[in-house]
Symmetry: C2
Subunit: 181 residues, 2 copies
DNA sequence: CGCAATTATCTTGACGTCAAGATATCTGGA
DNA sequence: TCCAGATATCTTGACGTCAAGATAATTGCG
């Protein structure tokens, strides 16, 4: 918490009103403008807030995963298998395509989940180079419970925005994302 | 929904006419709605896009840091020292307060930067428990060059949004961030 | 003044991730 | 058929991060 009070002593002392709405990112921008006034930092506020919001959201989400004995990494894999539908089986390559990590990372994630008894590696009858990763019954129970808690928590995390704001933010992020994907 | 194939790449990656306007996140939501229709996934789209956009932005920014022999971690520390103004010195605790990492992480970051000759640890004359981290002349040159390239790159990253959209997105992220800080 | 609580920084050990490369298998063209 | 290139997955080694706790110095209470 770095937050300042919106209606604290500062406003009673009539300190510049604009200062009151400055957040952590605004302070960083003000420092850059003082030290390197020739730099155009107009994009830094948006991208800095994006990074900070994402860091907070990630931390809050990990708490929920931890309650269910999972990490964001293991949740990610189990959730991908779960939402693919019965029989809850995908190849490592398919999991890779869905999760923005490298093949070595996916091997490691599967290793950990296999040790925990949440997935198993099955022979791929169509390609001896490959395997099929399957949710175990325990893995299915685990991800079903974790996913329910996760979506409830996600609603809590966005509750500070009005429905119309969420809609607007979602639309802008969709367009922004489209510039990368 | 038509029958799915045994091996899921087709279902995960499929593009058909009805889905041309759907992005990766929409496809994930559609899968959840099919598999767990009782879950309210209304917040997942926004938070999923936030995570993916941030991951893309982080990757693009790291390329620039790498061009200057830095990582996002080392850039973060050097930039904090640089924008604090002359004499470009802060305590590890002050760096910690500015950078959202743990003390052990900060110790490690400073160790790496010291090895690289970009910062040095000075005795803190006011508190023998502590030290002062100072940019070296080489560190100053490095961060000044990297910061200039970084802000230019940031402008490129947001160029796919119209100025009014950037403004709106920035405002919504500001409000969202305020719910955490 | 003396000592317990606090503070500042560092250490340790465990993870998760990545890049680069190894291994095994498949595939298509000659 | 054969084999060179492509493909699927795993291995290795180096990092960066964190949580928990250690160490040393400072502060403030009684």
């Amino acid at each position: 918490m770095t937050g300042r009070k919106r209606f604290g002593a500062a406003s009673l002392l009539r300190i510049d009103m604009e200062e009151l709405d400055k957040d952590h990112v605004d302070k960083i921008l003000a420092q850059w403008r003082r030290e390197r006034p020739e730099l155009d930092v107009s994009a830094m506020g948006l991208l800095g807030r994006l990074a900070r919001v994402r860091a907070h959201v990630a931390g809050e989400q990990e708490k929920i995963f931890s309650d269910h004995g999972l990490t964001s990494a293991s949740f990610d894999v189990l959730a991908t298998l779960r939402r693919s539908g019965p029989p809850f089986q995908l190849s490592p390559g398919e999991l890779l395509a869905a999760t923005m990590v490298t093949s070595g990372t996916m091997t490691n994630r599967i290793d950990q989940l296999e040790k925990a008894g949440l997935v198993e590696r099955l022979d791929n009858p169509e390609d001896r180079r490959g395997v099929i990763i399957a949710l175990t019954p325990e893995g299915l129970k685990r991800i079903d419970a974790a996913a329910a808690a996760h979506v409830t928590n996600q609603q809590r995390l966005v509750a500070g925005l009005e429905p119309a704001e969420r809609e607007a933010l979602n639309g802008l992020l969709r367009k922004f994302l489209a510039t990368f994907e």
